[in-house]
Symmetry: C2
DNA sequence: CAGTGGTCTAGACCACGTG
DNA sequence: ACGTGGTCTAGACCACTGC
């Protein structure tokens, strides 16, 4: 009974010259791990099987599994912990909360955060939003608008768009009940893990609504940040347009 | 004659429990490679010795050298090219020119770039500049001010500060002669490789000079980008304050 | 003490670039 | 044909964690 009927049997890489679609073994393993993550076989915060177990499961050496995991860890999808295991990334943990928020206080001290929901509506997707979220204009999207305050000062005005089909049961009420980071809530309530994001940053002048909500002069400079967040498989799952006040905070970035 | 008198002999990692300052072998190799890079033993754009040569030189296995190089490649200090060798990163190559410039045209098309030097002075370091560059206020710094234009439109007003002791012979004349990216010029003319950078981004209102130089209304929103660039060993080598017009361009960023 | 990831080695073979 | 980095394996031992 050593016959292997697992659907996850990997192909040994085609080593003959004729192979056009050659893919290294560890990339195939990486793809299989990604599938399992996407499918929810291992949930955010949980540990995945040990390297030796995975090696046995996929019939490859530990070194090959290791290389696959190395890449996923480099992309922040997995987190290695020596002596404990390898864990699925989550937005719940203290050290990586607000992982996608690059706005940082000018002095080091961490501010108290509070959120005020302006509205939360389900509407047909405007065409620009639909395009960015890879939806059709007939599809329903959830539109959340809110103000984030730091130390009691309104600082961020957010306009958030989510695919309605995925975020079922998201209403102003359920939203209001949730404390803590929105991305952590998305994980536990809707099973959506935000894995990476692209941001587009500009300086703009405060319009009427922004100046009221953020309590700044009409026309004051604001940082406009448009973010598209992706879940596994590069599927866009959120469009977020934010206006930031940057007099006591700054947007930080590391180049290399 | 097998005695090894090389100054680069590495310590086998202390494997006994008592070792407080344990450092993996490959980290020691990485540090040695960094020293050689800093010292200029291999110049930007050149290839470093092959993995097998380095393994022989440091008396370790190829795998250990490989892991050290892997990390340096992940930090963009080295570039691997299969079949050819491993090369020292440079700002000269077309694909990584303007590697630190995150301002991107809204439409895809690459704009024609031109630079206009406003002035280039050697002065005593103001205290804030000195602090950020890890200098004393008595030290001399070079201060360059310039406007970058894209497709003929002034778009960036830069205020650049460099340690005078390192950038000897940098004058408005020599600067004006240089075409192409400033960081590439720093490499070939002054032997300074910029290896990574930290940026702080804000939205600000155009002041008098900015509005004149960039031909925008007084008070229009501009993106203010303060960048500290580092050479090997995390030594700060440049402070750059830029004001960007972001109506046809945006600052892009990837989060993960 | 057992189990996990982390380091290190040695060797085989492959893919790529250049003669 | 050769030398380069890239992949894959197997095995030994170490460091860390928790029972």
């Amino acid at each position: 009974m050593t016959e292997n009927t697992s659907p996850e049997r990997v192909q040994p890489p085609e080593k003959s010259a004729a192979s056009a679609a050659y893919s290294p073994l560890y990339q195939q393993i990486k793809a299989l791990l990604l599938q399992s993550l996407d499918r929810g076989e291992w949930k955010p915060g949980e540990s995945i099987p040990s390297e030796l177990d995975l090696a046995a499961r996929y019939q490859v050496s530990q070194g090959t599994v290791r290389k696959a995991i190395d890449e996923l860890a480099a992309e922040n999808l997995l987190i290695r912990r020596q002596g404990k295991g390898t864990f699925v990334s989550t937005h719940h943990e203290a050290n990586v909360r607000y992982r996608f928020l690059r706005l940082t206080p000018d002095d080091g001290h961490q501010p108290a955060t509070s959120s005020m929901i302006i509205e939360c509506l389900r509407v047909k997707a405007p065409s620009d939003i639909a395009a960015l979220l890879a939806l059709r204009t007939a599809d329903i999207v959830v539109n959340i608008r809110r103000v984030l305050s730091f130390d009691g000062r309104p600082t961020i005005l957010d306009d958030i768009w989510l695919p309605g089909a995925v975020f079922k049961g998201l209403t102003a009420e359920t939203l209001a009940k949730n404390k803590g980071p929105m991305y952590a809530w998305f994980e536990s309530k809707f099973g959506v893990s935000m894995v990476r994001a692209d941001e587009t940053v500009r300086a703009v002048a405060a319009g009427e609504e922004a100046s009221e909500r953020l309590e700044v002069e009409l026309g004051s400079p604001l940082l406009q940040v448009e973010r598209i967040s992706y879940t596994y498989g590069d599927r866009p799952m959120e469009l977020r347009r934010g206006l930031y006040i940057t007099d006591r905070f700054h947007y930080r970035n590391q180049l290399s």
